[in-house]
């Protein structure tokens, strides 16, 4: 009987092996902001060059960077720059991080479509989200939201391992921490989904996650500044105040399969795919 089980196992594993020919496996891990684009690239690239297989994993920028430091990935995705401490840690492990900008991300603030608010200043957002911020109800902003009877501002945020969380904190709150009591979501699409269904809510995430069921107010850095609505174009020309570069890190100059893949990403095809996912390309491209 043992022999039967053994041969069954071997057979099933052999059957799972599939197609012949040699192939290179690229491991790509990191930022949840970038993960859907990275997945799109990997999916598309399988059609371009079937001899290169890209395995994509999320987990957050920190996860990707620490995997790069430990030498267990070929490409780390990150929505923030590597910190000096991380770079020296990598050097000690014999890893030389090479940074590449693959696109730009604009953070959008989301509110329920019934919410009449049209614009927010950084100061208002800090007062809503910041730890010593005084604004807890919509009426304090002079807004009355239909369907939000409690008048309480339901703050939707991300879990603190997310690059989006860190970026929002740096851009809007500066040195301050988040106010306690926010709903911390594990994924960007969850933030959007909660805001869609909650009239009292305000939330933030990458522009790529916006749906037609949420409203995106324009943002301005201060009372005098122009209020700019989030859009891909506004992110490219940096007129939108909350836009950031997205990085891919490799160990040293990319070579072989990794280089081919990255060249394709930075080429027209890869950049247009990134744009179609709602991010701003790293350079001007003409996409159909």
């Amino acid at each position: 009987m043992n022999r039967i089980v053994g041969s069954l196992v071997v057979l099933s594993l052999a059957a799972c092996g599939g197609e012949g020919g040699s192939r290179a496996l690229i491991q790509n891990k990191g930022s949840d902001t970038l993960v859907n684009v990275a997945q799109g690239w990997a999916e598309e690239y399988a059609q371009v060059d079937p001899s290169i297989v890209v395995a994509v994993t999320g987990g957050g920028s920190g996860t990707g960077i620490s995997a790069l430091i430990n030498g267990s990935v070929d490409i780390a995705n990150s929505s923030r720059e590597m910190k000096p401490g991380e770079i020296s840690l990598a050097r000690n492990n014999g890893v030389t991080p090479k940074q590449m900008v693959v696109g730009y991300d604009a953070l959008a603030v989301f509110i329920h479509p019934d919410n009449p608010a049209e614009s927010f200043t950084f100061a208002q957002l800090a007062a809503i989200y910041g730890e010593d911020g005084s604004v807890d109800s919509w009426s304090q902003l002079g807004i009355s939201v239909p369907g939000c009877d409690s008048d309480e501002i339901v703050r939707v945020s991300r879990q603190n391992s997310s690059g989006t969380y860190v970026y929002f904190k740096e851009a809007i709150l500066g040195e301050r921490d988040f106010k306690l009591g926010s709903r911390d979501m594990a994924g960007s699409s969850e933030v959007v989904e909660l805001v869609e269904n909650t009239p009292c809510a305000i939330g933030y995430s990458g522009l790529a996650y916006a749906t037609e069921h949420v409203k995106m107010p324009c943002l301005s850095t201060d009372d005098e500044g122009d209020c700019v609505a989030p859009s891909v174009a506004a992110a490219i020309d940096f007129s939108y105040p909350v836009a950031r570069p997205l990085f891919m890190y490799t160990n040293g100059e990319p070579q072989g399969a990794v280089k081919k893949y990255l060249d394709w990403i930075l080429g027209d095809e890869g950049q247009c795919l990134l744009q179609s996912k709602g991010y701003a390309p790293a350079r001007e491209v003409a996409c159909s």
């Binding site: 009987m1 196992v9 099933s12 594993l13 799972c16 092996g17 599939g18 197609e19 192939r23 496996l25 491991q27 891990k29 949840d32 993960v35 859907n36 990275a38 997945q39 799109g40 990997a42 999916e43 690239y45 399988a46 079937p50 297989v53 890209v54 395995a55 994509v56 994993t57 999320g58 987990g59 996860t63 995997a67 430990n70 267990s72 990935v73 594990a186 994924g187 960007s188 699409s189 969850e190 959007v192 790529a208 996650y209 749906t211 996912k277």
Partner: protein, 289 residues
């Protein structure tokens, strides 16, 4: 002449009430199972098809099938079984048939129980440290399956121990009296009589292994990989993680898709269980006591 008194009537009523209450509790157990299967079939049933099982996910994982995740889960379960069943059964045989009753044996038993109580996410962290980094397996099927194997070892050991102990001691004594060695006794008498119980443990392990997400998400499962894995050193997609990512990270996923994936996962576990149950029934029918 016996005549029912008021006291007897009260006893009867209490008896009836207790029985009804306990029956209700038992029926409550079935309810979640039926609800889960019902909801999954109702909402996920429409997306199921052969094409769904045997094609790649497409269009940013919002369309297409689940083939790489299905195959990946099978890889993870099989490799985990190959690692944990020999170790677990050997350890259980030692503990049951050879080990002297001393402090060391008691310590080992305690360690097994504690290992069973360790949360899966802690196993995941251990797996990352031990298999991915220390042994340099990288994020791979091997690292993920070994993590799963360690997590499920206690289940295999405990259930094997119980089924070995269920074999009457007289069987062994009779065998020894015929001049058989311990190993001959184990191989010819104890194992054939306990194999159905051992398979029960394996069934439990399959169910748990196939469904776990935490231990594999840092050790070997990829969110997306367009081709099937070829060796244990490749990364792979897995159904459980696929379900997690399309529910949590991927925008614009059709509502039925996650239910379909969950249905495939449950279907896979049930059919793997069915195979083991089939084996078990055949083996049990050969049992002579």
């Amino acid at each position: 002449m016996f005549e029912a008194t008021e006291l007897n009537f009260r006893d009867n009523r209490v008896e009836w009430a207790v029985k009804a209450l306990f029956l209700l509790m038992t029926l409550l157990l079935i309810l979640p199972v039926l609800l889960i299967l019902g909801v999954l079939l109702y909402r996920g049933g429409p997306v199921l098809s052969w094409e769904f099982l045997f094609t790649q996910p497409t269009n940013g994982m919002t369309a297409g099938g689940v083939l790489p995740a299905l195959v990946g889960t099978i890889w993870l379960v099989v490799v985990a079984l190959l690692a944990s069943v020999p170790i677990g059964v050997a350890a259980a045989i030692y503990l049951s048939e050879y080990a002297p009753q001393n402090a060391l044996t008691r310590a080992i038993n305690l360690a097994i129980i504690n290992l069973a109580g360790v949360p899966s996410i802690v196993h995941a962290l251990f797996g990352v440290g031990a298999f991915v980094y220390f042994f340099r397996f990288g994020t791979s099927i091997l690292a993920a399956s070994l993590t799963l194997a360690i997590m499920t070892l206690p289940v295999v050991i405990v259930s094997t121990l119980e089924s070995l102990r269920a074999v009457p001691h007289a069987f062994r004594e009779a065998c020894w009296n015929m001049g058989a060695t311990r190993w001959q006794t184990i191989w010819r008498v104890v194992l054939p009589n306990s194999i159905s119980g051992i398979l029960t443990g394996v069934i439990l392990e399959v169910s748990r292994t196939a469904g776990e997400t935490a231990p594999i998400m840092f050790t070997g499962a990829a969110m997306f990989m367009p081709l099937l894995p070829r060796s244990v050193f490749d990364q792979t997609m897995a159904l459980s993680l696929h379900l997690y990512t399309i529910s949590m990270n991927v925008p614009d996923v059709p509502e039925a898709l996650p239910y379909g994936v969950a249905l495939v996962l449950i279907g896979l576990i049930l059919s793997m269980n069915a195979i083991s149950i089939g084996f078990r029934t055949v083996l049990r029918s050969r049992r002579k006591w």
